[in-house]
Amino acid sequence: DAMVIQNPRYQVTQFGKPVTLSCSQTLNHNVMYWYQQKSSQAPKLLFHYYDKDFNNEADTPDNFQSRRPNTSFCFLDIRSPGLGDAAMYLCATSPGRGRGGNEQFFGPGTRLTVL
């Protein structure tokens, strides 16, 4: 089945130790998104790629970066995690502009713990 896969499902890191979360998709979608979700809150968009074009949300901290080496993969790098970065990180994909309203397909998420 076509899907969005996130690895790892759970990640524990130490304060200030860099961490990379990965996302892959088999849907061949143009757009890939990274969201941060804290408890009992809506997902907060960090950035997204439309094909190779990177789009950063204005309030995304510089501590967060992303890479999309090809259509299928996208990575979230947190350079120096702080305690406030502990959250669920969701990857999503969508077909893109003008295509069926751009329904999003989500991965299962990576739960990040910062010690």
Binding site: V4, S40, E103
Partner: protein, 114 residues
């Protein structure tokens, strides 16, 4: 800019009872509308969507939603709730003028009593 309001933070129902979750949006035209469900520790899953046409849309798991232009609403309904429906529900809108980034509501947590 578009916005979404889900006025209820928590909804509690008994198993077997009917359910309605409210969603109101603000947008200059008719947007694309979505309802997603999130079980604990999981990603979001699409329940249903409205683009155009019939204002009553059917989704998965027995859910339906009705688009009411005059009220700028897209409320989610289910005639008989099951314990497994306990989850977080998010309403989302995407502008129909070429935009593709959704705006999410803050979510409604559904609690189901046996």
């Amino acid at each position: 800019a578009q916005s979404v309001t889900q006025p209820d933070i928590h909804i509690t129902v008994s198993e077997g009872a009917s359910l309605e979750l409210r969603c109101n949006y603000s947008y200059g035209a008719t947007p694309y509308l979505f309802w997603y469900v999130q079980s604990p520790g999981q990603g979001l899953q699409l329940l249903l969507k409205y683009f155009s046409g019939d204002t009553l849309v059917q989704g998965i798991k027995g859910f339906e939603a009705e688009f009411k232009r005059s009220q700028s609403s897209f409320n989610l309904r289910k005639p008989s709730v099951h314990w497994s429906d306990a989850a977080e529900y998010f309403c989302a809108v995407v502008g129909s003028g070429g935009s593709y980034i959704p705006t999410f509501g803050r979510g409604t947590s559904l609690i189901v009593h046996p």
